[in-house]
């Protein structure tokens, strides 16, 4: 109480500064490169969510490195997409087919009202290489509305990000959906 009343006498700016001070002390949970990487990766993931929800398909494909892959395994035990059954295992070429399909005026199943809302959180930097490449895991929740039906997809992302002059590019985005093994009521038309 004493501190509080003391603070009142001082200017508000100073009070804020003092309150912030303890956060500058390195805590055990902070990674060597700390907040900058954490912040940059989080911003990248939030932007990715916005791009998907905004149906900006080319922008999404452009988040991927030239050799980047979008992978959704049917089973969390899978360690590679190569030569394995996969819900998605798409390089930029296949992603382009998917984009061109949904943008085609005669993609009948794209006609109805359709939209998604992604929320990304629990972002953990798993590994940061000296060259700035990052492996990050996070959790996502996607709500999808199609016609009058709502579906939920949720699970874990693992992003292998390459640091470039223009920011991060995805080398591999692994998507382990908690409901990957459940029966699909209809299909997944685009990336989750």
């Amino acid at each position: 109480m004493a501190t509080k009343s003391k603070a009142k006498k001082k200017s508000p700016v100073k009070t804020v500064r003092r309150d912030r001070a303890p956060a500058r002390v390195k805590s055990a949970v902070q990674r060597p490169n700390g907040r900058d990487t954490q912040h940059a990766v989080e911003q990248f993931l939030y932007r990715q969510a916005e791009i998907l929800d905004g149906k900006r398909w080319q922008d999404y494909i452009d988040l991927f490195a030239e050799d980047g892959v979008y992978w959704m395994p049917p089973d969390p035990s899978h360690t590679t997409w190569d030569g394995m059954p996969a819900i998605f295992a798409e390089d930029r070429n296949l992603m382009t087919v998917r984009m061109k399909r949904v943008l085609h005026p005669d993609a009948w199943s794209q006609r109805p009202l359709w939209g998604t809302n992604h929320v990304v959180g629990n972002v953990v930097i798993e590994k940061e290489s000296p060259n700035g490449d990052v492996v990050a895991r996070s959790r996502f929740h996607m709500l999808e509305l199609r016609r009058d039906d709502i579906r939920h997809f949720a699970g874990r992302y693992v992003h292998h990000l390459r640091k470039t002059r223009d920011g991060f590019r995805i080398k591999l985005q692994r998507v382990d959906m908690t409901n990957a093994q459940a029966a699909y009521d209809y299909v997944l038309q685009v990336w989750v």
Partner: protein, 441 residues
């Protein structure tokens, strides 16, 4: 009781058209389950799904929850997934291992893999003087009336009467011969992954679409064109695009006028074949190496026979669609009058080079997975079909295309030259449907 509520079913089907209630009426659906799915041979799974004694997969036959299990005798058994005590399902998971024996989770009754009662806790004191006990067959898990396998593909029938499996399959058994013969060892092995996709439509709408050669260039043109554009782009850049692009672009490059060049073959019991159109025999080094392996196993002449088998789809009515040249199948499980589950599997050709498996895998992932760019538009159409059939805007579904021009030889209807888009397969399926549905009085 049910029968009294449904008018004479023979009036619902004419050779060239079908009443809409056949797809939408819940009572007719219940009768279908009784008279078709719970009687005829239904695909349960492949023997390699249950390699070890105790391994099981649950499977729905009509409305019946069943379990396919490998016994200690190495035989594959198909049992009702039900404890004879209080009706508890024995296997609650989709698949797994029962171990040495089945054990009910409710009161610990145990059963051998063939369904025979093994033990009841305190059986002697608890059941002394009752009619329940080890000698009463009603204390066993009830087996399917008939179980049979053809080249490793297991079927069950829930009634004792009727044609045996080979007679039932008739010429449609070429689906399994074509899958297996393409292996230099004559055998396939399941890839342990099942994609499951639900369609909000009657089960027959899916089956009728399987051999509908008019729909691909309409329904799938968006995907076909998108794939073709990217295929051309890759060809320009690298000189060669992977076969998987062709699998998708063929839906557009085979234009609507070309589909008549293909043929459908229509057999008794509603089975049908659509001949091949994808040209899956390129002259690349992988294929040539595979052909060498096959020739070594079978000789040149037999190899040619095997590789020139001209099939795209085999439909085994009422519940299985097989794409034998790509070693995959879709089992159709009706869940309700307007809800249908497809279980999608693919197989590895034993002894064939890895790139040939990769070809099947590419098709499985691109066309048959839950992210399918092909079935996305099919399922949309199925739902619209089913919903439209609720309308009073018309009573009949039309199967008139090329009607009256079918060539019938010994019970087999072959579409005539340049009539590949004939609705003969739909007419054939409904003919079988009417036979099944009106057989029981």
């Amino acid at each position: 009781m049910l029968q009294e509520n449904v008018a004479d079913l023979s009036k619902y089907v004419e050779p060239d058209r079908v009443r809409r209630e056949v797809y939408t009426d819940a009572q007719i659906y219940e009768l279908e389950m009784q008279r078709i799915h719970e009687k005829v041979w239904i695909y349960c799974g492949h023997e390699s799904q249950v390699p070890q004694p105790g391994d099981y997969y649950t499977v729905q036959i009509g409305r019946q929850p069943m379990v396919m299990v490998r016994g200690k005798d190495r035989k594959v058994h198909v049992l009702y997934n039900r404890c004879p005590h209080r009706g508890n399902m024995i296997c609650g998971d989709r698949h797994g291992s029962a171990g040495e024996f089945f054990r009910c989770s409710y009161h610990a009754w145990t059963f051998h893999h063939d369904g025979k009662l093994r033990s009841i806790p305190m059986m002697d004191s608890g059941y002394q003087g009752t009619r329940w006990g080890r000698d009463n067959p009603d204390c066993n898990m009830k087996p399917a009336a008939r179980v049979a396998a053809y080249r490793g593909f297991v079927f069950a029938s829930l009634v004792a009467d009727g044609p045996d499996l080979v007679e039932f399959l008739g010429r449609s058994k070429i689906a399994f011969d074509d899958i297996c013969d393409r292996s230099p060892e004559g055998e396939v092995e399941v890839v342990p992954n099942c994609f499951r996709v639900v369609q909000r439509s009657n089960w027959k709408i899916f089956l009728e679409n399987q051999l509908d050669a008019l729909h691909p260039s309409v329904t799938h043109q968006s995907t076909g064109r998108a794939a073709r554009e990217v295929e051309i782009e890759i060809e320009k850049r690298t000189g060669h695009a992977p076969l998987s692009y062709h699998m998708l672009s063929a839906f557009a490059t085979v234009t609507i006028d070309k589909w008549d060049a293909f043929q459908t073959l229509n057999y008794p019991y509603g089975h049908c074949i659509l001949t091949g159109y994808m040209g899956l025999r390129p002259k690349d080094p992988d294929t040539l190496e595979y052909e060498r392996v096959l020739a070594k196993a079978y000789g040149e002449k037999r190899k040619e026979e095997i590789l020139s088998t001209n099939i795209h789809h085999v439909l085994i009515y009422p519940g299985l669609s097989v794409q034998s040249p790509l070693q995959q199948l879709r089992a159709v499980r009706p869940l309700g009058v307007d809800k249908t589950l497809t279980e999608i599997w693919h197989f590895r050709l034993k002894g064939a080079p890895e790139p040939i498996y990769r070809r099947a895998l590419a098709y499985y992932n691109l066309v048959n997975s839950p992210s399918t760019m092909i079935n996305a538009d099919d399922l949309e159409n199925f739902w619209k079909c089913h919903s439209g059939l609720a309308s009073n805007g018309g009573d009949w579904v039309s199967f008139h295309r090329h009607y009256g021009r079918d060539l019938e030889k010994g019970g087999v209807v072959e579409t005539g030259p340049n009539m590949g888009t004939s609705e003969a397969p739909m007419r054939n399926q409904m003919k079988a449907w009417a036979q099944y549905m009106t057989a029981e009085k």
